[in-house]
């Protein structure tokens, strides 16, 4: 472990980096955007604090119950969710993580151990680590309350488990970032990631199906999986504590050593990646040098959008080309159909919320359409994020911003229309053909929700832009302000639409919902038109922030 011996100047360097991070934060507060971000972070932080302390208390109580009732092995039931959350949350909720880009540090005379420690420490400052640590503290306190003499050992095991979680998280990020650096592997990774997500969605219905259908078979599967589970980190940590409680110290120490061995292997995998980065690995994609020229290149004319100016058609085409080059985004487009399939697989007798659509198939189309709208959120709330430095082109070109926004909105509306058709076909196939009144009410509701989302999306895209970097992982794709505001809008719209639809359904007058949605859509359309008419002034007033935020390296 000679490579981990830190040189004498390392402490000063780490302190300097901590200071510069603090200064960056303080300087960010100079702008209104930065102050808004801080407020949003405050609210999000409150939510996380609630989840952290509440979860810690709940998990601690459960740990107390398991240990005091002599079933310490069951601690694995608590450690597995903590482990899964710790590893999956940063991947699923990149909006809440801000991965530290340490590549700029390489120009300084930083030793490898310092570089390793900095990557480990600053990369771990995320909500998953904070929540995971709070929950493990809760579990440790619960164990200590039930068996005070077990607390030191349990604290040591859980601390090792926490370090292992941090190492695994950093290792996954480091490797995923390496794969994301190249477009081809990025697309493959996106598809794989998406397929994993879908398989997770199917897990619930499948477990439900097998669990209800043949309990002995399910029990057999579980009994076969248990030995494997005990060899994995959460099972090992639980076993180390349980065996110590039963005074089987050798076995407990063995489990702890195995946990440590995992740490060494994961640390070594992380070391492989970070060492390559430290040595100046460059994964940029270079263009192959061509030696022959094939004469004049023929270029097909751009798309035509009847009734709209050429600039709107050009931006519309550009948006679709961008979308077609984002594999993961394309895959999320079929998510609504997948979700309908998941709902269909859930047995109606299970009493779960999932089975709701099986009992009320007329609501399948509204539910699928609502999910389709949710998928669109990724696109509409940070309209210019993917354009990056291209935003300057929009300001330099002889085009009004209202046309730019209109073109982008048209593209997004076309995507939603396409998705809605897919959902309708899926509902016909998986459930039953939606009745005409439900179809009309859903379309009217969707129209209203789309207009609201586009209006607020345009506003936030201008007010709180964030550059989307396709080559990095774990960096936010929207600002905190946008994430926070879009959540609020989505919740408000969904609650309003669901209440309207359910009330109309209860009275057996679905057409009433159509009327209400159309009236709401008219108000939303007026707001949309008003915002569009002011888009030019707003964009001009915000041009410096937009260019600075989106063009930054």
């Amino acid at each position: 472990m000679a490579w981990l011996r830190t040189p004498p100047e390392a402490r000063g360097q780490i302190a300097a980096i901590a200071k510069v991070r603090w200064q960056l934060f303080v300087n960010s507060l100079r702008s209104l955007h930065g102050r808004l971000e801080l407020v949003s972070r405050g609210f999000i932080g409150l939510g996380f604090a609630f989840a952290g302390f509440g979860g810690g208390f709940g998990l601690g109580s459960a740990a107390w119950f398991f240990v005091s009732s002599g079933r310490a092995e069951w601690l694995a039931l608590l450690l597995w969710p903590v482990f899964m959350f710790w590893q999956l949350f940063p991947l699923l909720a990149t909006a809440f993580t801000d991965n530290f880009d340490s590549s700029n540090l390489l120009r300084f005379p930083l030793s490898y151990p310092s570089f390793f420690l900095i990557r480990l420490a600053y990369g771990s400052l995320d909500p998953a680590t904070a929540l995971g640590s709070l929950w493990l503290t809760g579990i440790a306190l619960g164990i200590g309350y039930a068996r005070p003499q077990l607390l030191p050992w349990a604290a040591l095991v859980l601390a090792a488990f926490a370090v292992l979680n941090i190492l695994i998280g950093r290792m996954i990020f480091a490797w995923v970032e390496r794969w994301l650096a190249r477009r081809r592997t990025r697309e493959i990774l996106g598809v794989v990631f998406f397929l994993i997500l879908i398989s997770f969605q199917f897990l619930g219905p499948l477990v439900n199906h097998f669990g209800k259908g043949s309990p002995p078979a399910a029990g057999h599967i579980v009994s076969q999986l248990l030995p494997l589970e005990r060899l994995l980190p959460p099972g090992l940590a639980a076993a180390a504590i349980a065996q110590a409680m039963r005074a089987e110290f050798a076995a407990a120490f063995g489990a702890f050593l195995l946990l440590g061995a995992y740490g060494v292997v994961i640390g070594w995998l992380l070391h492989l990646r970070l060492r390559a980065q430290y040595r100046g690995e460059n994964l940029n994609e270079a263009v192959a040098r061509s030696t022959s020229r094939n004469g004049k290149s023929a270029i097909r004319p751009g798309w035509k959008l009847p009734g709209f100016p050429a600039s709107v058609a050009a931006i519309f085409e550009k948006e679709f080309r961008y979308l077609s080059r984002s594999g993961p985004m394309l895959f999320t487009m079929i998510m609504p159909v997948v979700v309908l399939l998941i709902f269909r697989l859930t047995p109606s007798s299970s009493g779960n919320a999932d089975a709701f659509l099986v009992r009320a198939p007329d609501l399948a189309f509204p539910a699928g359409a609502a999910y389709a709208l949710l998928v669109l959120t990724n696109l509409v709330y940070n309209n210019f994020g993917a354009d990056a430095a291209g935003i300057q082109f929009f300001f330099a070109a002889p085009v009004r911003f209202r046309e730019i926004l209109l073109a982008k909105n048209l593209a997004h509306a076309a995507v939603l229309a396409l998705e809605t058709i897919l959902v309708w076909l899926a509902v016909c196939f998986v459930f039953r053909r939606p009745s005409l009144d439900v179809t009309l009410a859903t379309l009217a509701g969707l129209f209203f929700a789309l207009l609201v989302n586009l209006t607020v999306g345009n506003l936030l895209s201008l007010a709180s832009p964030k550059k989307i970097d396709f080559g990095t992982f774990g960096r936010q794709r929207a600002s905190n302000t946008t994430v926070f505001a879009s959540f609020g809008v989505q919740i408000a719209v969904f609650v309003l639409a669901a209440l309207t639809l359910l009330a109309a359904r209860r009275h057996g007058e679905i057409w009433l919902a159509t009327l209400i949605f159309l009236a709401l859509a008219a108000i939303a359309a007026a707001a949309y038109a008003l915002l569009l008419s002011r888009a030019d002034q707003m964009a001009l007033a915000r041009r410096e922030t937009l260019i600075a935020e989106l063009s930054r390296a």
Binding site: K296, S297, S311, A314, Q392
Partner: protein, 276 residues
């Protein structure tokens, strides 16, 4: 009398307490190849951003081809081409798609945009990688593509912010050939550059900005004559400490003119005594 392509009146831009551009009155005649020079942080990029509508002035007026930029932003932008500092490219389009897109954004019909995009790709020697995304282009290729996009609508004025920065000799030659061709056909080019040799070779007129103020403006000969007269005057009056004579018969280079106007005093001996 030559028509004015670009003019500014009392153009000013503040960033908080910093006066980045201070009361600049600029005149660029149509058909000129105009170099806008200045040391780092002098206000060059800020000025070019204001002239192209990428940044709002704090005060003052900008006229492009006789039209007020503030009142007619769209009409002005229709007649100019811009290669800004960040090149303003859309990374996830191919070169052909980007040029096609740019052409249509500048109001060309579909067929013309496609035809010109094809010709520009050939001229810039970028046609070999039709499927390559702009984000995967080298820096030089991106510069060439940005210039191609800026000229696709045949602008009357072309604004270039550091067009030769990070560009190799071959790409630089291609860029220069295109710019010379535009000048021959009557276009006006306004460029900022740190490479004074290139400016001297290409530009007919030059302006120098220093600490936000326009300190010199005119043809190279006018600037040279002004500096020589100033040096002679200073020597005669023995007023300027450190004033040096210009050897008779020696023609001042742009770099020498620039240094004499802006002042590039060598650092004092006692400074950075620890270095080396």
């Amino acid at each position: 009398m030559t028509a004015t392509a670009i003019s500014t009146e009392h153009l000013t831009r503040r960033f908080g307490d910093l006066l980045a551009v201070d009361d600049v009155n600029l005149r660029v005649a149509s058909g000129q190849f105009f170099g806008f020079l200045g040391p780092n942080g002098a206000g060059k990029s800020t000025t070019i951003k204001m002239l192209t509508g990428l940044l709002a002035p704090s005060a003052g007026r900008i006229e492009i081809l006789g039209l007020g930029l503030a009142e007619n932003p769209v009409e002005v932008k229709r007649q100019i081409g811009v290669v800004p500092e960040g090149m303003a490219l859309f990374g996830r389009l191919t070169g052909a798609e980007y040029l096609n897109f740019a052409g249509r954004m500048y109001g060309l019909d579909r067929e013309t945009a496609a035809k010109r995009a094809s010709e520009l790709l050939d001229f810039m020697q970028l046609a070999d990688q039709p499927q390559t995304l702009v984000t995967d282009y080298s820096h030089g290729m991106q510069k060439k593509l940005a210039l191609a996009a800026a000229v696709i609508h045949n602008p009357k004025i072309l604004f270039l912010d550091e067009p030769f920065e990070g560009v190799d000799a071959i790409a630089s030659g291609t860029l220069k050939a295109m710019l010379q061709r535009m000048i021959t056909h009557g276009a006006t080019i306004f460029l900022t550059s740190h490479v004074l040799e290139i400016v001297e070779r290409l530009c007919s007129h030059v302006a120098i900005i220093h600490r936000g103020k326009l300190v010199a403006q005119g043809s190279l000969e006018e600037l040279r004559a002004g500096v020589e007269a100033q040096a002679a005057g200073a020597l005669a009056a023995n007023a300027a400490p450190g004033a040096t004579a210009i050897p008779s018969g020696e023609k001042l280079t742009l770099e020498q003119i620039f240094l004499r106007i802006v002042g590039g005093a060598p650092a004092a001996e006692q400074e950075l005594s620890w270095l080396g």
